[in-house]
Amino acid sequence: MKRRMWAGILFVLPAMVLFVIFKFTPAVMAIIMAFQEYDIWGIKWVGFENFKEIFTWPDFYIALKNTALYTAIIVPKNIFIALILASILMKLRPKFQSIYRAAYYLPTVTAHVVIALIWGWLLNASFGPVNAFLQKLGLQPVPWLVDPNIAMWSIILTDLVIAPGSGVILYMAAMSSIPKSYYEAAELDGASEFVKWWKITVPLVRPTTLYLAISYTIVAMSIFDKIYVLTGGGPGNATVTMVYLIYNTAFRDFNYGQASALSVVFFAIAVVISIFQFRRLSQSFEFGG
């Protein structure tokens, strides 16, 4: 028995040591540093000074607005489109299912940097293919990434037209575990395809909807790679997002205290949204099982 206890401790030890150094300690440090002025000159306690500075900083509100806009558009689109596409694919033959599923999932295995490089080329204002296509249709070319009023919308657009691959796969998995008898019972009552979908499928995949809502939100709020490659936060600071601002504050301006305060605010927002989504979507879970 004793041997087994020691074995357990030894088996978790490497992982635990790494977690303490690279996950737990940084999390605690992030909070402490948010209340410090921490720069090349040294460290001193400043209370809520960093937070006060953030909340009077125009860039913070630009970043907040851009991140909120991007998240508020991309997350519902991803969930809705994944639900629709998965529902349709479930009706296809397995061979077609796997072809479409692979098509939707393919960009997910490609680096964000790569996808962003491609969009930088597609949306090039003077000779990019998208503008060339618009001109061929007799339309005006659009200054996609160079006009500060349009740039953020262009970035949103690049994600809007991509199918949510992981969402489609997860919804399909959830749908295939719904018992056929539910649908048969509904058919006996004369329910239409739409009624069956709305009253049986949608409520029963709600746990997946919850999982996707939370994970897509965290990913969307953390948008960085695309901004870095496509606009570098510009033109001016028109496309800075929360993580981009954290990056700039910490690694360009070396203002560690303020960067930590930004991280804490960012985390607090993510937690509040997750709790809210959990409350909204976990109702009637007992029915979903």
Binding site: F11, F22, P26, A30, I169
Partner: protein, 272 residues
């Protein structure tokens, strides 16, 4: 259902497939198009002839060999070490009893809720204290312990009957041999899925390598490509050739291991 409705539905799912794949197609198209033909107006859906000129130029004028090697080293290193460390922890959490087991597992899973971006700066300071900045270790070591991987492997190991372990113990097998010779071979499917996910996410990682590396010859492909873009702003043939070098191995892995992918996604999603 009526034929017309079905036709509309097929068009709908196909349009989504095309718009999802079009950027990838355009990457390949540009990468193999002669540079002088890339900016012709209107752009052609297919190049007049395929060329490797952009790749030749890329391999001549950039450090891409270094970047490829670094990406491979990183991804292989992280995947191997992470699988070892996480599967050991997962084995302990699923099959062994020891003090503190519950709260340790809870604490590990709780870190899933803290986005890596939140702890970016403190982790950077720790790595810098350990004198790892500007080395590949700065990327490998902090990525080894992954809460997702531990969680995923543990869920799988919970379903392995304990009888096997008890029988081995009676035969006098050591705890390490039980893990190495019985549990690991039985966990192959989940190990394969975790390996693929870890490999791909290490290959595609960008923000962390960007922060901890300074010298261009130490960059992985992602960071290298971003600097390439800043140096050759409108040389899209070159950029797309670089993008292809990064994307192609992942696409091959995806098609080769599709079934593990889907299984892995599902075990993470439906149980998480």
């Amino acid at each position: 259902m009526k034929k017309a409705v079905w036709l509309l539905i097929i068009i709908f799912i196909t349009v989504w497939a095309i718009s999802t794949l079009f950027p990838m197609y355009w990457m390949f198209q540009t990468a193999f198009t002669p540079e002088e033909e890339i900016s012709t107006f209107p752009p052609k859906l297919l190049p007049s002839h395929l060329t490797l000129q952009n790749f030749v130029e890329l391999f001549k004028s950039s450090l891409i060999w270094n970047w490829i090697i670094n990406s491979v080293l990183l991804s292989v290193g992280i995947t191997a070490l992470s699988l070892l460390v996480c599967s050991m922890a997962a084995y302990a959490f699923s099959k062994l009893q020891f003090p503190g087991k519950r709260w340790m597992f809870t604490a590990i899973v709780a870190t899933i809720l803290v986005p890596a971006q939140v702890t970016l700066l403190p982790t950077f300071l720790i790595v810098s204290k350990m004198n790892m900045l500007d080395t590949l270790w700065a990327i490998i070591i902090p990525s080894i312990a992954s809460p997702y991987t531990i969680f995923m492997i543990r869920q799988y190991m919970l379903s392995i009957p304990t009888d096997y372990i008890d029988a081995a113990r009676i035969d006098g097998a050591s705890e390490f041999n039980i893990y190495w010779k019985i549990i690991l071979p039985m966990s192959k499917p989940v190990l394969a899925a975790s390996a693929i996910f870890t490999f791909i996410s290490s290959w595609n990682g960008f923000l962390w390598p960007l922060i901890v590396l300074n010298s261009a010859e130490k960059y992985p492909l992602t960071v290298g490509l971003a600097t390439l873009q800043r140096q050759h702003l409108v040389q899209y043939g070159l950029q797309m050739a670089g993008a292809t070098v990064s994307a192609l191995p992942m696409i091959v892995i995806f098609f080769a291991f599709q079934k593990y992918f889907i299984r892995g996604l599902m075990s993470g999603g439906t149980k998480g």
